[in-house]
Each structure stands twice: as C-alpha cells, then as structure tokens.
Amino acid sequence: MPHLPIDLPFTRYLDAAGQVVRELPAWAADGQLLVRLYRQMVLTRLFDQKAVALQRTGRIGTYAPTLGQEAIGVAIGSLMQPRDVLVPYYRDTAVQLLRGVSMREIFLYWGGDERGSAYASPAAAEDFPLCVPIATQALHACGVATAFKVRGEHRVAVTTCGDGATSKGDFLEALNVAGAWQLPVLFVVNNNQWAISTPRRIQSGAPSLAQKAIGAGFAGEQVDGNDIIAVYDRLQVALERARQGKGPHLLECISYRLGDHTTADDATRYRSAEEVKQAWLAEPIRRLQRYLADQGLWDEQQEQALITECQAQLQEAVDGFEQTPAQDWSSVLEHVYAQWPAALAEQREWLAERAARAAGGEHE
C-alpha cells in the first residue's frame, strides 16, 4: 500500500498491559471517573454475553455483539450531554445503555419487537434508532446538526459507523457537507478491522480512515479504540469544539471485533484463531483493570461485587423483557402513518380477520 505523506495524530495512553505510555491528561487524575468508566465497560460486556445467550436459546433474534469495542461506546455515552443527539448504528449497545435506553428495550428490539426503539429515556428522546442500512445514518446526523446550526443551538450530533461504512457514498457525502457547512457533527468510526468477512485492507487504499476528513476540509485523527482514556480524551476535545461552533471532526477508533459479526455469522470461516487470540491481548477492559489495580483503585473483591451487581441487574432486565406481553396485532398499523388512512380502512378489517385466523379464532 502506498504511504501518502499524511501524518495524522494517533493517541494512546495505556498500552495493552495497562502501562502508561505517555503522560495522562489532567482529567484522568479523577480515579472515581475512571472507575465509573470501568464499571460501565464491564456492565456492557456482561449485557452482551447475556444477549448472545438469549439468542442462542431462541429468546431473541440475531444480535450484533460489541465484544472488544466497549471502550468506544462507553466513552461516547459518558461524554454526550442529554441534549446532544446520537445517530447510531447497530453495534452501539454501549452508547445506548448510557443514553438511558433500558436493557429491556434493547432486548425487545433484537427480540423482534418495535417497542425496543421507542426509548422511554428523556436523554434518548431525540436519538435515532439503530441504523441498519450501512452509513446512511451519517447523513441523518448532518441533517440533525444542520437543524442545530440553523437554530443557533450549542448541541452536537454524534454518529457512529464501522470501517466498512466509510466506503459508502453516504459516508463520504456526509463528510463533504459537514466540512462545507462546518456542521456541529462528530463522526466516530469504530474500526474493528472487519466488515463481516471483508478485512480493513480491502475496504480502502487509504492508510487511515481518519484522513478521509482531510479531503472534506476538517480534521481527523486516530486513537487506540481499546484505550478508553485515549478515546475519552480526544472525544472530549472534539465534542467541545463542535459545541462551540468550530466544526466537525472525525475520530477513527482502532479496535477489533472479538466476536462474530452477528450471532448469524461464523467468523472462523474467514479469519484465523491466531489473529483473534492476539487481538484478545489488546482488549479494552483488562488493560484499564490493570491500571486501576496498579493505582490501588480496584481489587478482586470489588470486581466480584460488580459482577454480582451487574448479573442481578441483567436478570431483572431479562425478566422484564420476558414478561412484556406481545404487541396487539393492530400495532402493525398504528405507526405507519400518524393515523391509519381512512382510505385503507378495509385493510384493517382483513388484517383483523387474518389475525383472528392465525390465533384460531381467539380474537373477534
């Protein structure tokens, strides 16, 4: 691959072993903040494990694990203000949890129930639902940011996507308009090295994905996406700049998809066990845990207590999910339009009959 003379910043504070490799930012002196970030990453991972287990036992449908990429989402979710707007993609469980989306809602969504995108949390009230058609969300975020700018509001639209998504026209068109209009939008690329079976190197000839911002007239940079101190630090700066009207930013977080693409995928078909084993050595939770332990901020007893606490919270969420009664058949019509059109009233009738036949005549 030709290396072009674009040298973008790459930030890492903690290496894979949890050793400090450069002077920590001032905010990182707040040990309690770091402990909060750590706890949230652990909660996210345990949630993920539970979701995969529910899929394996047929209680939810296909799920996209965030295993190994917890630092990115936890940093985003911790730094966004409630009035900011999240425009996420499907691998954003970590951010969703911090936006106040309930675990029950997340299970409902992946469990084939639209109420999972109805978000009761005030912080998520204006957030977009998880986006499945790749990269299309990047443009929506620019539209949201344009609304902020038009109204003179100090809010930021934060949008996430994968490495594969950066190949799509939508992504590049979003960067272009964000640069042209200096929009308060932040693009966070979760570069987990794989787009299903397609490795990062096939995706683009550009040495970094962050440099795509340069062509659009604004700054991009890389961080170690498995070092939450790095992600948090650079994100904080970018968010603040955008909030002050200083324009968009692209943060490429270098991470690794430790799990299958989704529960419907089998990654052993296209990547080696050795590669995955190596990637585990650099995962984000262990390194922060080591750092915290070295600082005397975390010990085995706290770890056990945390796990017990998380498991209880998860069990409660699973129970809540499983006890949620199914939506009525008529719910499929309720939100297609503000009001089901009178012109389509007949369809309501035959759908009622269809539902009744399906239920063996239980309904009217």
């Binding site: 449908g61 299903i196 995706q203 058949w329 499929v332 019509l333 369809q347 759908l351």
Partner: protein
C-alpha cells in the same frame, strides 16, 4: 447424470459454478461473496474454483457495485452482482434504473448491459430490520429490466443460468424462506429454463391460483386442501414477473373462471394489481367472480414477533378462494 437432492440455495450455487465454468466472461462480485462464500453461502466455493479476479469481494458500497457492473457489462463481461439483502439495494437503484435498463436503448444497440443482480428477498426467517422486504414491483416498473423470482430448486437452477445467458439486465430475487426448505432431486445438466414464461405447477379446472416466490409454498398447500374438499385448483408460478406471460395466465383463467392472486409484497402497486388488470382486459366475461388478491398489508414488514401477520398464510388463501368460489 445423478439427481442429488438440493435446496434452492444449493441450486443457485450450482448454477453459478456451472455458468462460471462454461463462460470465462462470467464473474461474481459483491460484499462477502469471496472467502465467506456469501452470507447465505450462495457463492460458496466459487473463489477457490475461479480465483479472486472473477469472484470479487468488493468494498462495502452498493452504488459502486452496481455502477461497476454496468461498466463491466458494457465491456462484454457478464457480471453477476450480489446485493446482500434486497433491503440494501436502494443505493444501487440509480445505476439499475438510469443506466443498466436503458444503455441498449440509448445507444441504439451499440452498447448493452447483460448483468445479473442477485439478491435474497422476503420475510419469514426472523431476520433483523430491513432484511425482509419484497419490493419486486419497484424493479418490474422499470422498462428494460427483467425480474425473475424462482420458487423451487429446479427453477432457481434453470432460470439463473438463463438469466446469466440473457443479453439484457436481469434482477434475480431469491426468497430466503425457501433457501433451505424442501430439497429436491436436481441434476447439474446445464439445462436452462425459459424466462418470460409462467410455470403451471398443478393443473385444475375450478379455480386458478397465481403466485410467485415464497408464497408459492402456501399456495400449493391451499390447492391441496381444496382438493380434499373436491375443488380442483390450478396453480401457476409466475416466475418472471416482468415481462409477464399473460398468455398462460389468460388461458388458465378462461378455463376456470375463478382467480386468486397471492403475493408476499404489500398490496398497493404490487404485481398482483398488474396481473388482475391485465386479466380483466382480456377475460372479463369469462370470470364468474371478481379476482381476489391475498397479499401483505401496506405496512413495512413488522419485526419478527408479528411477522406472521404480514405473510399470507394458507388460511388467508383459502378464505379468498371461498369468497371467489361462492360468489353470487
């Protein structure tokens, strides 16, 4: 030649292998089609057999895939592009609608576009959002495109080979619900099946049932149930929904005087409407009852909990048949 039992998915795979072996101009491109063999494994083994120059894992960009295929096809290659799910084809639309479908016409035949777009379609596999659409009518509306939907392993095999041979662009949609259902004996004999032609799957004299894609399964089951009640239903798989083989449909409905059309796509603007209108133009006075359609309602496919409501079931088809047969 031995007739191993094969699923629709295996039939697609077999046809691709056969087409690539027969003609070195045939190439396959799309997301995850190479080393992974496609997310459903429809392209499994192709890369090992024909190499990465003819079996191309592309960057993730449907506009690019379709645009590339147009350029390749104009150059005399025969690209078979895969769009991973029909719900992700919209970014490719511009190239299919504004270019692939009309390059021949624009250049008075100097250039042409013999590409095939393969894409899984339809509901019923508990898939996530945007993985369950049946939007075949969007393509059927475009002059210059052919739209083909197989409903059995044999038709998948024979029609895909014919689609790849065809000198014009073909949209080839594969119902995911049928991918692994009910494998049937299939010989890899390279035999093509005709495009632009309906397939009569069951002959009958009282009622014509017209369907395509995954709904053919429930339609055949309904015919079986009707037979138990002494009603003789003819079942026709439309297979090529653009252009329509109206001659076959017309002849059947003239014979039976009763017609029910079944499709999984939403009702308004669906191909059922096109077929019904065309039949009324031709056979109005032979009809003994108004034609009925059994379709999805005009809603996005619900997430999987309520998906069964969306898919026309055997009982829904039987209810429509009852109405038609007892119309007074």
């Amino acid at each position: 030649m031995s007739e191993v039992k094969r699923s629709l998915l295996e039939a697609v795979n077999l046809a691709l292998h056969r087409a690539m072996a027969e003609d070195e101009n045939v190439l396959v491109l799309g997301e995850d089609v190479g080393i992974n063999g496609g997310v459903f494994r429809a392209t499994a083994g192709l890369r090992d057999s024909y190499g990465f120059k003819r079996v191309i894992d592309t960057p993730l960009a449907e506009t690019m895939i379709a645009g590339l295929a147009v350029g390749m096809a104009a150059q005399g290659l025969k690209p078979v592009m895969e769009i991973q799910f029909l719900g992700f084809i919209y970014a490719a639309m511009e190239h299919l609608v504004s270019h692939a479908s009309r390059l021949r016409n624009r250049t008075r035949g100097r250039l042409s576009c013999p590409l095939v777009v393969r894409s899984p379609m339809g509901a019923g596999i508990r898939a996530p959002e945007h993985h369950s659409e049946s939007t075949e009518a969007l393509f059927a509306h475009i002059p210059g495109l052919r739209v083909v939907i197989p409903s059995s392993p044999a038709r998948a095999y024979g029609l895909l080979l014919a689609a790849i041979d065809d000198p014009d662009p073909v949209v080839f949609l594969e119902p995911t619900r049928l991918y692994r259902m009910n494998p049937q004996p299939l010989a890899d004999n390279g035999q093509r099946l005709p495009l632009d032609c309906c397939f009569t799957l069951r002959e009958g004299s009282d009622l014509t049932l017209i369907s395509w894609g995954a709904s053919v399964v429930e339609t055949l089951q309904a015919a079986e149930r009707l037979a138990e009640q002494g009603v003789s239903a003819e079942v026709i798989d439309v297979a090529t929904i653009k252009p329509l083989d109206l001659a076959t449909l017309e002849a059947s409905v003239r014979k039976t005087g009763h017609c029910v059309i079944v499709h999984e796509a939403p009702r308004s603007g669906g191909i059922g409407a096109e077929i019904a209108a065309s039949l009324y133009e031709r056979v109005l006075l032979d009809l003994q009852a108004p034609i009925q359609r059994v379709t999805a309602p005009d809603i996005p496919p619900p997430l999987y909990r309520l998906e069964p409501l969306y898919i026309p079931g055997v009982e829904d088809i039987l209810a429509a048949c009852d109405l038609v047969l007892h119309y007074a």
